[in-house]
């Protein structure tokens, strides 16, 4: 089972992962880490997530024009792009790290992100 770590802000996924797993919406092995805003995300958090054994890592922030903190998700997306370059240099497929933009309060968008990352880990397996 692939281990997927996702970083979400307070305004995206509202439903806890264990509920989604119980309902069969997503598979096991998913961990969501909440941040007040994805603008709080730092590059080492992404690298360390892979270091902890994640097969894939994603970030789900607000859509660019709806970020509660104006530019938080935009900043996060730039950091994800930077981290993609670093993991590629270390021999990890950069597709296994991704930024997603979700509607505020929409768990569905985050579920889609999880499914997409599950698909990508299967492709790489």
């Amino acid at each position: 089972m692939a281990k997927i770590i996702g970083f979400c802000c307070n305004y995206t996924a509202q439903v806890p992962v264990d509920v989604l797993e119980k309902e069969g919406v997503i598979g096991g092995g998913v961990e969501l880490r909440r941040l007040p805003c994805t603008g709080r995300l730092e590059v080492p958090m992404l690298l360390d997530a892979f270091g902890e054994g994640a097969d894939a890592v994603f970030v789900a922030g607000c859509k660019i024009d709806t970020c509660h903190n104006k530019t938080g998700s935009l900043r996060a997306s730039k950091r994800v792009r930077y981290a993609k370059g670093l993991i590629e240099e270390l021999g990890i497929d950069p597709e296994l790290l991704e930024m997603f933009f979700a509607d505020r309060g929409s768990t569905g968008d985050v579920v889609e992100a999880i499914k997409e990352m599950e698909k990508r880990t299967e492709k790489g397996a």
Binding site: V43, L47, G51, L86, L90
Partner: protein, 222 residues
């Protein structure tokens, strides 16, 4: 400030071959301001090293530290003792810091994590541009404050070359011809006639011709 870039991770990982304990040492001077070797970059590189080594199944202890500067002896002092505990100090300072550690801290193996590139200014967040070549013989008083040594691709002393077209340099249309800008700047002050005075052949000796340069101010010596 001195501008630097992190070396490719592959090159850094090669330096860490066989290393079990490394100190990633940042500098809060120029390289922190240009986002190459300050506290944040130390954390990123340390995480990248742990990840890279972990993927190879190799153990490494990575310790993070940042000094105020690596180019002043008082700030390097703690490294005299601390450095002995590490197989390698990976310096995220500019080349000056790396050299200074190598000179001043015997018994400590130091290697660079950055490529030191130029003296530049911060145009906007994430963008730096070369402004000075450190040539040791400033002519900025003759050129409206714009440096033809650092900012002309050919470091010309007496006006543009034939490749200057429409105020742009032949090496790249994005690069302004600095001699065009010098002319426009002086014209704005009604001083363009000063450009008719031919600048003598440049004396490159202060630019490092005689080996490593040194500056002494007698009144400040201990």
């Amino acid at each position: 400030m001195i501008i630097a870039n992190q070396k490719p991770l592959g090159e850094i990982m090669d330096m860490l071959e066989g290393v079990r304990r490394v100190l990633v040492l940042g500098c809060r001077g120029c390289v922190a301001v240009c986002s190459a070797g300050g506290d944040k970059e130390v954390k990123i590189l340390a995480s990248a090293i742990r990840l890279g080594k972990g993927r190879k199944g190799e153990e490494i202890e990575v310790v993070e530290e940042t000094f105020v500067r690596q180019c002043d002896p008082e700030y390097l002092e703690p490294l005299q003792e601390m450095g002995k505990d590490f197989d390698l100090v990976l310096s995220m300072a500019c080349g000056v810091g790396v050299n200074f550690i190598a000179d001043r801290v015997p018994g400590v193996k130091v290697k660079p994590a950055l490529n030191t590139t130029f003296f530049g200014a911060n145009l906007s967040s994430g963008e730096w541009k070369e402004m000075c070549a450190g040539c040791g013989a400033c002519v900025l008083h003759l050129t409206g404050g714009l440096c033809p040594v650092a900012r002309c691709a050919k470091s010309l002393s007496n006006g543009p070359c034939g490749g200057s077209q429409g105020g742009r340099c032949e090496i790249d249309p994005e690069v302004p011809c600095i001699w065009h800008e010098i002319y426009e700047k002086l014209k704005g002050f009604n001083e363009e006639a000063s450009l008719e005075t031919i600048m003598p052949i440049r004396d490159w000796r202060p630019s490092g011709h005689g080996g490593p340069r040194k500056r002494i101010r007698e009144d400040l010596l201990p």
